[in-house]
């Protein structure tokens, strides 16, 4: 796993992928949905084979009209035995995209998907590792304390939705590089202020 400038985001993506792995293992193939599929749900229906994993991550928040896409995904789960995994951000923590996703919106979507749907919160973690010289970093992450507001959610429905796993991923943070980045921002700000006052 490579984690560069945005370690939390990269870890979030990685954790989501690992949570989906058990679902993918039970499915024949994986099809990734894009924003363009929202405009052409019929083409998506054609493209998805029987028993596929349909991953629709970071798409719903980028399209204002998502009802037709969600219906197409429901149809794929119903008629072609697909397992669908939707990923949406928590817009309470930032600026919403084309549509807005919060815990309320997730509950709305869940109510439409029905009782078989599985909802998983994607939580950001902050931690530290103690690694003696000559020793490999620990292979698993122990999460201490209660989880708070998620940064996003995964919603799974269809044949293998129940296989969505609980996974935590942590990656090393380049604190020296981060500090350098903050210093650069501060220098920029000071320079701009000086230019304004000049």
């Amino acid at each position: 796993m490579s984690i560069d400038a945005q370690p939390a985001l990269a870890a979030e993506r990685e954790a989501r992928e690992r949570a989906i792995e058990p679902v993918a293992a039970a499915c024949a193939t994986r099809i990734d949905v894009t924003s363009a599929d929202a405009d052409h749900p019929a083409a998506l229906r054609e493209r998805v084979p029987e028993g596929a994993l349909v991953a629709c991550l970071d798409v719903l928040d980028r399209v204002p009209a998502f009802a037709a896409l969600v219906e197409a995904l429901q149809e794929l789960a119903r008629d072609k035995g697909a397992t669908v995994v939707l990923g949406v951000p928590n817009d309470q923590l930032g600026a919403p995209g084309a549509s807005s996703w919060t815990d309320g919106a997730v509950e709305e979507l869940r109510s439409v998907l029905g009782p078989g749907a599985v909802v998983a919160g994607v939580h950001e973690l902050r931690g530290a590792a103690v690694v003696p010289e000559g020793t490999e970093p620990p292979g698993s992450v122990e999460v201490a304390g209660a989880l708070l507001a998620p940064v996003g959610w995964l919603l799974a429905f269809g044949a293998h939705a129940q296989r969505l796993g609980a996974r935590a991923v942590a990656g090393p943070v380049d604190t020296v590089d981060q500090r350098r980045h903050v210093l650069a921002l501060e220098a920029d700000r000071d320079a701009l202020r000086a230019l304004r006052d000049h």
Binding site: F66, E71, Q92, S99, G104, A105, E108, S111, V112
Partner: protein, 411 residues
Amino acid sequence: MLDVAFVVNDLALSGGVGVVVQHARQLAARHGMDVTLVLARPLTDPTWGYDDLEHLHVASLDEARARQFDIAVSTWWETAPATFALRARRYASFVQSLEDRFYSPEEPERTAAGLVLDLPVAFITEARWIRDTLSDLRPDARCLLVRNGIDKDVFVPLERVVPRFDGPLRILVEGYAGTWFKGVNASVAAVRAMREPAQLTVVAPDRTGLDVRGVDRVVGPVPQREMADLYAQTDVVLKLSRVEGMYGPPLEGFHRGATVVTTEVTGHEEYVVHGRNGLVVDWDDLGGTAHALDLLARDRRLLHELRCGALATARSWPSWEQAGELMALALRTIAREPAPDPYAHVPRLLSDARSQLEHHRVHLRELSAARRDVAKFDRIRALPGIRQYLALKRIERVQKGIAASRKLLRR
């Protein structure tokens, strides 16, 4: 294409009907549905303009009876009989509140409003507390959640909140003072009890029963765009309601940079977080409410923080367009899934009717006992001697004599 009927009592400019009209417009304009607003009774009050009802059909119950719908949706307990009078493949109920709470225990409407929740329908509701309650009451029924949107073209979210460190706290109270559960006069009284300077605006669609003591200005009824301007000139929306489904005014205020001071009325938890975007006060605590308002008037840093929190909440709240997406999904889900067993809930319906009957019988017994006590008291008052004494007491000279005698006796 889905053929949908929303059954309404009227097209009055009320919040509840407004929500139905907004959904109906979205479904017709953006989701290719054929939507009819069916009037359960003839129109009497002011209604939505025809511009607002573009893309929609409006039909009387008789006209609608001649048609076949995919889904017929009741929107208020009184519209349930008219809904079932329509021919439809599916029946649904759009529940905006638990409507029996609008009535006192003595009112017969309370029973009827509760019983409609036993009908064989799919439920669509706008708040999580209603969904949870319905799921407990009716575990057999499909219950879909579709929150109300906000018209973001009218209640345009501010770019940023400008801090206000000077001037009186600008408070806005809105609602019908004559409706007991809206708490309008209690809100006015709480502002009157403040110590810090405040400027109170009351937006009253109807001034019946409004206590204007301490109010700086009363306006209304006002169109939505004017309301948006009023919110933009407001620091705090004060809302002391006792019954709500999912109230819109504080949320509209949030979009325009106002925070809220509210009771913990049902629906507040949908978006109000104490200390983050508003303050939650206790029931019947006018002193405490006045203190909360005084705090905001004094601590302008806190006021600014709450107003910023309110604006952040507003930004992530769905528009009507997004709410329409969810309503379209909900209706298509109802249309696709099998109809509920019409007989499954009959025992519960009958048992609820029976328990309401018993409740009413107890109430009648209490009333009858009270009547007997009154009759007994009247007979005592009519006894010789007592009757003459009571008659004498009504004479002014005798009253003076009694008062003088009491004074003497006290000495």
